[in-house]
């Protein structure tokens, strides 16, 4: 609570010079937080911060261009802000970052699995490393590490990498990411992989929540998924088209994706989209020793080159 009070105080201090500050508030049920756009002190009083604050609020930044915007970020969210700044998609002076330390957020999908559904949640409360939920008349206690988002288990940046105001005590821990999930998936045969994606893509609705939730998908209104010039895709609802869109999304994020996982979280039909981006990130790391969203003054690896590449073999025949 103390952290939250400090945060509110700091936001109130800066609010007069800002058009809006983005944070979280309680959503439609006890398990859902929802983005909060604070313009007045009363708005700030509705601010919450807990492991339920899953949204990466940086996704809203490019839509607020030209405004003085404050944003509350967790460690992972801050990487998106860094990447946006690096790509000059934001003006540094226009953004005030309220950085937080974070020990992890929940995966609502995991809670849904544990509870058998999220439709009837009556209360939810965090107690140390446990979540106490009552749903459909029954109470359950879920340890945080069992319901934490996958990304939190491999988090290397618990604390906001960039902040104008940092609130709270930095978290010391940092995990290693060995891309075990990617490795495991790669162990499948191409046929198995293809079948997996074919099945998953079949239920894709082409709602583009994955794209619009992505903080780095800055084309949005001009996305090639729906344009005729260029006409990369048809509007047919075939698996190929839906799958091809995910390839576009992943490749357009190559060297840019900060692995916030919003694409996957936003997907209403639960397609594990982050895997595709993590695969590319794994390769980008290996090839160029680069991690998106960690340095403002870096150049994304696919927008640069070296005359002699250390890790790419020249592919002589």
């Amino acid at each position: 609570m103390e952290l939250l009070d400090q945060l509110k105080e700091k936001i109130k201090e800066r609010l007069p010079e800002l058009d809006v500050v983005i944070g979280w508030e309680q959503g439609f049920d006890p398990l859902h937080a929802t983005p909060l756009f604070m313009r007045t002190e009363e708005d700030v009083d509705r601010l919450v911060f807990s492991p339920l604050c899953v949204h990466n609020l940086a996704s809203h930044l490019t839509g607020l261009k030209g405004k003085k915007v404050g944003i509350v970020v967790k460690g992972c969210d801050s990487r998106s802000v860094v990447e946006l700044l690096q790509e000059k998609l934001l003006v540094r002076e226009d953004v005030t970052v309220f950085g937080l330390p974070c020990t992890g957020v929940v995966s609502l999908k995991k809670i849904k699995h544990a509870l058998g559904g999220l439709d009837k949640v009556a209360s939810a409360e965090f107690n140390g490393n446990e979540l106490k939920v009552s749903a459909a008349g029954a109470a359950r206690v879920l340890p945080l590490n069992e319901i934490a988002a996958d990304k939190c288990g491999r988090c290397q940046y618990h604390n906001a990498l960039l902040s104008d105001v940092f609130v709270g005590a930095p978290v010391e821990a940092a995990a290693e990411d060995n891309y075990a999930d990617v490795e495991a998936f790669q162990a499948k045969s191409p046929q198995e992989q293809a079948a997996y994606w074919r099945d998953a893509m079949q239920r894709c609705l082409r709602c583009y929540a994955c794209r619009n939730a992505c903080p780095m998908c800055v084309c949005r209104d001009h996305c090639v998924a729906q344009s005729r010039e260029p006409h990369w895709m048809t509007q047919q609802d075939t698996v190929q088209e839906k799958w091809f869109f995910q390839m576009i999304h992943a490749l357009h994020l190559a060297g840019r994706c900060t692995e916030c996982g919003e694409c996957e979280r936003a997907c209403p039909v639960g397609i594990p989209l982050l895997l595709l981006k993590r695969k590319i990130n794994k390769e980008i790391k290996e090839l160029f020793d680069y991690q998106a969203g960690t340095k403002i003054d870096a150049t994304p690896p696919l927008l640069s080159f070296k005359v002699e590449e250390e890790n790419i073999n020249e592919r002589g025949w």
Binding site: E87, C219, V224, P230, D237
Partner: protein, 659 residues
């Protein structure tokens, strides 16, 4: 769309292994193809007339020719369709000769492949749009980089043709390698006697601005409108004041400075003038050896200088020269023979390079034209010439022939005999390359009249024995080992690309081969052009050349520039990138990746947007594949055009078929 398709027989070149009539028939079934036929020679006069007639008869709005490579006849056919009133970009070519008939044996497969390739061309054409070239003005000034004989010739020809010329020379004097030579083959006439007057012409020509001791720093712009930044390196002497009287060089107490002009066989003073005929004849200070600059003592030259031209605090200075064309004439450098450990690797004082020998032979050289051994000043008796040092040798990555070494070695053998009638010369050679006018006769004279002993074989080793050297090699004609006792060994070191050549090439955006020699546009047909419009080549920067060839290229490059400048306006290639302002989100990724700086950020109603500087854009399309939303499209190679080609080859079936 109404497309006409013409399948060329190319005599039997295509028709021999492709059923051209079948191809025409199959492609004719495509919905947009209104007319399809086969033709004997599409590129011939009647072939082209046939295309023009068909365009008129069938009201065609685009043409596909399936014949040879577009790299050959695309321009031809573009002109053809233009003559018929179509835009020249409403034309596509399918390469069914080089890519089909000449490489595939099976007629059926070839025919199907030809159908596919022609169909791709049709698919692309349905997406083509007329493109119109923009005109832009030309700055009729030319820059020549390099003041060797090729550069001098190019500069003089351009200047005589009425152009303003900026000549940029890296060293303190023009003249290049030729100025260092004593005599030239096959006439054995005095090098400086024939070059000197040309150098003076350069100095006196009203149209030529000469920057000696200067280098090109950066090149911006495009044909007709380059902006070249030239860095004038500090000489510590105000050249506007210096009269070249030479008083300073006489009195300079620092006499150990490296004498580059004399190929380091002597030393010079810290303040010096390269040689008596130097152009410009101005003194310059080598700061490394100047006592005043290094130790803040001395200052003799400053006190002596009658025109008060000395400036110890001089800095490098950059000037911007706007020009419309650039001739690169940066010459060559010598192979570093010290890489041959078996020849002493530079440790033996009497094993010298051929160019050092030229300086020894030169009457104005450090030995005043007397042949003496560098080690002890004695006249040599046996002089051994070793050819192909750093030429035709894969082991040092110099597999190519430097071309002129055979000739100058023969010349030096002749000169040796002239200077020292008692001497005996030996020449170890691999083959004698003497294909020029009077060249072979000349080498024969060296052997027959001047007694040079030619031994065919590589030298395996040179080692000292007493005050002499043993040159051991094979005589491959006799099939024996040979050992020759030598007083002086002259290595015919090969030519390699000038140091920094690749660096300059990148600034000029021209390509170079793996040895650093600049790439001409076409080996045979465009020898002085490059693939960058407005940049031309002359002399050895393109590959080793003797003097007549270098001079010829200098003139050739000049004539290309004069031709280019004969128009007041140039047409830009419309195959450039173009921004859809509605789709551009102003992220600047294209600006970041453009290799030519051809994209700039502009403001459109308060939003940043990309803007293509059409004359700078070279049409590579890196921007198009960088832009995620496809807002910047390379005209004539747009996403939709390439996608149409892909779809022509493989497309997903539609969700419903018509039936």
């Amino acid at each position: 769309m109404k497309i006409g398709v013409f399948i060329c027989h190319c005599g039997s070149n295509i028709a021999g292994t492709v059923d051209v009539a079948k191809v025409a028939e199959e492609v004719g079934k495509l919905p947009d193809v209104a007319y399809s036929t086969d033709t004997m020679y599409a590129c011939s006069e009647p072939g082209q007339e046939g295309i023009i007639q068909a365009i008129k008869d069938h009201n065609l709005d685009g043409v596909v020719v399936a014949s040879c490579t577009p790299r050959m006849h695309e321009p031809t056919f573009r002109r053809t369709v233009e003559r018929a009133g179509l835009n020249r970009y409403m034309f596509e070519m399918a390469n069914i000769r080089e890519h089909v008939s000449w490489i595939g044996k099976d007629k059926e497969s070839n025919t199907q492949k030809a159908v596919d390739l022609a169909s791709i061309a049709v698919a692309k054409l349905t997406q083509d749009r007329p493109l119109i070239a923009k005109k832009f003005g030309v700055n009729k000034r030319v820059m020549v980089i390099g003041g060797g004989v090729a550069g001098i010739q190019a500069a003089l020809d351009c200047a005589d043709g009425g152009l303003e010329v900026v000549l940029v020379e890296k060293t303190a004097t023009i003249g290049g390698k030729m100025a260092k030579l004593d005599k030239t083959f096959p006439t054995v006439d005095c090098s400086s006697c024939i070059l000197g007057p040309k150098m003076v012409d350069v100095a006196q020509h009203p149209n030529i601005t000469l920057y000696a001791n200067a280098e090109v720093d950066s090149v911006k712009g495009y044909v007709g409108n380059f902006e070249v930044a030239v860095k004038k390196k500090a000489t510590y002497v105000d050249w506007t004041a210096c009269t070249g009287c030479g008083l300073c060089t006489e009195k300079c107490p620092s006499k150990k400075a490296t004498d580059y002009f004399n190929e380091k066989i002597a030393t010079t003073t810290a303040i010096s003038i390269a040689f008596p005929q130097a152009i410009p004849k101005k003194a310059s200070i080598d700061p490394e050896y100047c006592i005043k600059i290094t130790k803040d003592k001395c200052g003799v030259c400053e006190k002596l200088c009658p025109t008060k031209a000395i400036r110890y605090d001089m800095q490098d200075e950059t000037v911007i020269e706007p020009v419309g064309a650039i001739i690169a004439a940066t010459g060559y450098d010598l192979f570093d023979y010290t890489r041959y450990g078996e020849y002493g690797g530079g440790r033996y004082p009497d094993v010298i390079t051929s160019l050092q020998y030229e300086r020894i032979l030169s009457a104005s050289g450090p030995m005043a034209g007397h042949i003496k051994r560098p080690s002890d000043g004695k006249e040599p008796k046996n002089v051994v010439f070793v050819q192909c040092v750093g030429s035709r040798d894969k082991s040092v990555d110099r597999p190519y022939c430097s071309g002129f070494c055979c000739m100058y070695t023969a010349k030096q053998a002749i000169q040796t005999k002239d200077h020292l009638p008692d001497s005996q010369t030996y020449v170890f050679y691999m083959d004698i390359r003497a294909p020029g006018k009077m060249y072979d006769e000349f080498t024969r004279r060296a052997m027959e009249e001047y007694g040079a002993r030619y031994i065919r074989g590589r030298v395996a080793m040179i080692y000292p024995k007493g005050d002499k050297y043993i040159v051991r090699g094979a005589d491959t004609l006799a099939g024996t080992q040979v050992e020759v006792e030598a007083d002086l060994v002259v290595l015919a070191v090969g030519a390699e690309a000038a140091k920094g050549a690749s660096n300059l090439a990148e600034k000029l955006r021209i390509s170079y081969d793996k040895y650093g020699f600049y790439m001409e546009s076409h080996v045979k047909l465009r020898p002085v052009e490059t693939n960058t419009a407005g940049v031309f080549l002359a002399g050895s920067c393109q590959g080793p050349k003797d003097i007549p060839s270098s001079v010829a290229q200098g003139s050739a490059a000049a004539s290309k520039v004069l031709g280019l400048f004969s128009k007041d306006e140039l047409e830009s290639d419309p195959q450039v990138a173009s921004v859809d302002i509605k789709r551009c989100v102003g992220c600047g990724k294209c600006i970041e990746t453009c290799p030519f700086g051809a994209i700039e950020e502009t403001d459109f109603r308060g939003e940043p947007k990309a803007n293509v500087i059409e004359t700078v854009c070279q049409g590579c399309g890196v921007c198009t594949s960088t832009c995620p939303q496809g807002a910047i499209q390379l005209q004539h190679f747009t996403d939709n055009q390439i996608l149409a080609e892909v779809n022509a080859l493989c497309q997903q079936p539609l969700v419903t078929s018509f039936e």
